[in-house]
Symmetry: C2
């Protein structure tokens, strides 16, 4: 008996593949939105901005064997992560999404079902986050790769920049940190077991916008490379230092036990693990207190340190040692 | 004697590579411009739009071994082509460029000199065309790939869409067609000879903007896949047909002789060759005549056919045959 044929990208060709993706996005109502004046199908998409807004643009890429493996997670999960990473950059600027364009590189032998899964994963989030997929590009390549560019809008002068931290600012993070790194470590130890969906990261779009509207907002970045690395970007851009209280860095429930089972240092994982896509931000002294802040931002918020004039990061003993952070 | 070490991407690492690219762009004054409120170095770039404008977004990718080979042309030429392709889509919408973001995927062993060349090629055009490189992303991959997203602005209601052709419109192209395809054919025959720079394509940004401001403008597309294919996109989107006069399709000087030497059919090459990045557009009956038009658009303009209500393309005898176009 013959096995059922697995249809691949080369079986349909470039133009039919684009049409297929477009149909799937339209079906999922992920290709249009209030900001979309012209979507997929022309030389460029057209997006509406409001008076007094500037355009925020950020690009991100996921490459097979580097950022994902087909054997380790379902295609939907890869698509979701790609879009979450792109939108998280808009969240960190305090911008609202207008649309996203996707450059997809795919080997001719790639199963159509995988492309369908990637698109489904992106479409689900696109709709949920009000960030329609308005255009893209499909090309051949040896490995699958996704480059996503997110376009957003933010009121002039209100964007949350990395260089806006001032001595005396308090340092905060949203949500909990370390969960994504733990999931990756688990997946690595569990090779051979059924592949598992990685936790869907939640780009903090609403929190970012609320923060941008807040009196006393300072600098902001999303935690994609790990808290120490990303806070380091704020410190470098703002030409300041900080003292951090590692014990206060919030972690997911059951984190310590799960880390112990894998012989991982939970504090280090929470400080250096990437891809949680929480926001790390600073607030001036006059800004709202913790409770009012959590209410305004609609998310758990934890104070973890303080910005100081003296350059460098203090309070994290091992932070300078080689291998502690990933750069 | 030891050969001088060739420094590669992995010798400097991701963050240093980004800093190196940023420095090169700043030196070339290719990272800033009047529309750039915030450039490279934050979570997103911030771009200014004027009241009444919409945002145009288009993405394009070049992949090693598919769209370029290091052995066939200098890195500068590859960078130039990548940026020209991205900007050409803005030209075809009648949009002015605001900025460009670049996602670069590079194998660890890629020579730094090649990255430098790519960046130089892009920077030269970025400055010339007023399209600053405002952000990007660098990642590891097996093959080098560039995904460029161009962001532009166009007055609401003035964008040149593919679906705006009407029966009775005349069909025009800017410049000459077939030159890029001829250069590719020459390079393919000349393997082993010194690699040559491919002709730098000129995205028709000024012509596109002038056209968008013109009374009587219809549909527009850039000729990236070949005239027949791209005019086909206009016909499909506008649900119309056309009669083309292939003999009138303008070709570069010396084209017929060069084609004869390579045993190529010049008419077919001009009709199907891609990457010339000229504009193919339609005009209503009341639009300016050829001379006024060329003056307004600042470029050679040739009438090559007419839009008709009856679907399909007429006047090109072989156009339906398999292999005539590349899809």
């Amino acid at each position: 008996m013959l096995a059922p044929a697995v249809r691949s990208v080369s079986d349909v060709g470039e133009f039919a593949l684009i049409a297929r993706i477009e149909r799937a996005l339209r079906r999922a109502r992920a290709a249009s939105g209030p900001a979309v004046a012209l979507g997929i199908g022309d030389d460029a998409a057209l997006l509406r901005v409001r008076p007094g807004e500037q355009v925020a643009v950020s690009t991100d890429a996921l490459v097979e064997s580097v950022h994902f493996r087909w054997s380790a997670e379902p295609p939907e999960s890869i698509g979701r992560r790609a879009l979450a990473a792109a939108l998280s950059d808009l969240a960190a600027m305090g911008a609202r999404p207008l649309g996203v364009v996707v450059a997809l590189a795919a080997p001719p032998g790639l199963a159509l079902a995988r492309v369908d899964g990637l698109v489904r994963g992106m479409a689900a989030l696109a709709r949920r986050w009000g960030a329609p997929l308005v255009g893209g590009n499909v090309t051949r390549a040896r490995d699958t790769a996704l480059a996503l560019t997110a376009i957003g809008a933010v009121r002039r002068g209100r964007a949350l920049r990395r260089d806006a931290a001032r001595p005396g600012d308090r340092v905060f993070v949203t949500g909990v940190l370390g969960g994504a790194a733990l999931a990756v470590a688990r997946a690595a130890r569990g090779a051979g077991r059924p592949r598992r969906r990685r936790p869907a990261p939640e780009p903090r779009l609403a929190a970012g916008r609320a923060l941008a509207a807040l009196r006393g907002a300072g600098a902001c970045i999303d935690v994609s490379d790990g808290l120490l690395a990303d806070l380091g970007h704020i410190l470098a851009a703002s030409r300041v230092g900080a003292t951090l209280d590692p014990a206060r860095v919030p972690r997911p429930p059951g984190f310590a036990r799960a880390c112990a089972a894998l012989r991982l240092d939970p504090e280090r994982l929470a400080l250096t693990g990437g891809e949680d896509y929480e926001l790390c931000f600073t607030l001036r002294r006059g800004a709202p207190g913790p409770e009012a802040l959590a209410r305004r931002l609609g998310v758990r918020v934890t104070e973890i340190g303080r910005i100081e004039a003296r350059r460098g990061l203090r309070g994290v003993p091992g932070a300078g040692a080689p291998g502690w952070t990933h750069f």
